[in-house]
Subunit: 138 residues, 2 copies
DNA sequence: GACAAATGATACTAATTTAGTATCATTTAA
DNA sequence: TTAAATGATACTAAATTAGTATCATTTGTC
């Protein structure tokens, strides 16, 4: 998982926590300690994928665009990391010559599916519940 | 999984297939289509970790050093990728400030353990069996 | 209307990691 | 003696990831 993905999830989490209000990127940057400009770009990407809404101007900011239960970590990963794979099977550009009958690959593909399923089961809503349970900040 | 890891697994697999003989890096490079010099470095690394043995000179080459059932994919991953994690938790150098109570991290850690276990269950010996079953080359 | 504070859009730089190449010395069987 | 192998190490290149900077536009408030 890249930093972009992590930042994005945390940003959405903060928005989801204060659903209804518009929260500025400046504020999220401070509370989540994400480099401001980096966060800006991330949020714009999220707008492009319709995970968040924005309002310009003085009291502008961002808002989650959907029910947090319907936003999963995989959604976010896909935005920032494209289709993810545990292994690209040995040749980033050209696919490995042995791809079709590689025994290692077959094993990896299976694990890959399991992992994606795990991440698919983590929604922002779920993380919110975790947060409430643990009572501490964040 | 990086290319080094993949190459390494495949190289060991070829050695395991012809256990007993010394196989040259030149030959492995050809059959597995791994860049020769890259493979050389990988094999030396494997020697350092005592997964393979070598003999210099005219009819030299490499050999697996252990029972293939006792070499797992995780062993190889650890050599070339260090301790692996699905996420470094947002700050490659300094650990993320929120690390201790980050709900996302807690989820990731759990998945991480599962994945490692899956890879721990893939041994070179196991892959060899897969190979025999499928009958095709490689 | 002017201003301040926000987003929209986009270009750029830097750091890190990964992948791959090259070179020279040493070993060893034929 | 020589050819073909490994040992050791240095170097280059490509790609990805992370982070910074700039300027335009929007919008609430004084």
């Amino acid at each position: 998982m890249t930093r972009s993905t992590g930042y994005a999830v945390r940003a959405i989490l903060e928005l989801a926590q204060k659903r209804g209000e518009f929260i500025s990127s400046r504020q999220i940057s401070k509370s989540q300690r994400i480099p401001y400009q980096f966060l800006r770009r991330i949020l714009q990407e999220l707008i492009g994928h319709e995970l968040v809404l924005s309002k310009g101007g003085r009291s502008g900011g961002f808002k989650v665009a959907r029910n947090p239960d319907l936003i999963t970590v995989v959604d976010v990963m896909n935005i920032f990391q494209g289709e993810i794979q545990l292994s690209d099977c040995m040749f980033r550009n050209k696919p490995c010559v042995h791809r079709s009958n590689c025994v290692l690959r077959k094993r990896i593909v299976k694990i890959d599916e399991k992992v994606k399923n795990e991440f698919k089961n983590i929604s922002i809503g779920g993380l919110l519940k975790d947060l409430k349970k643990q009572k501490g900040g964040l």
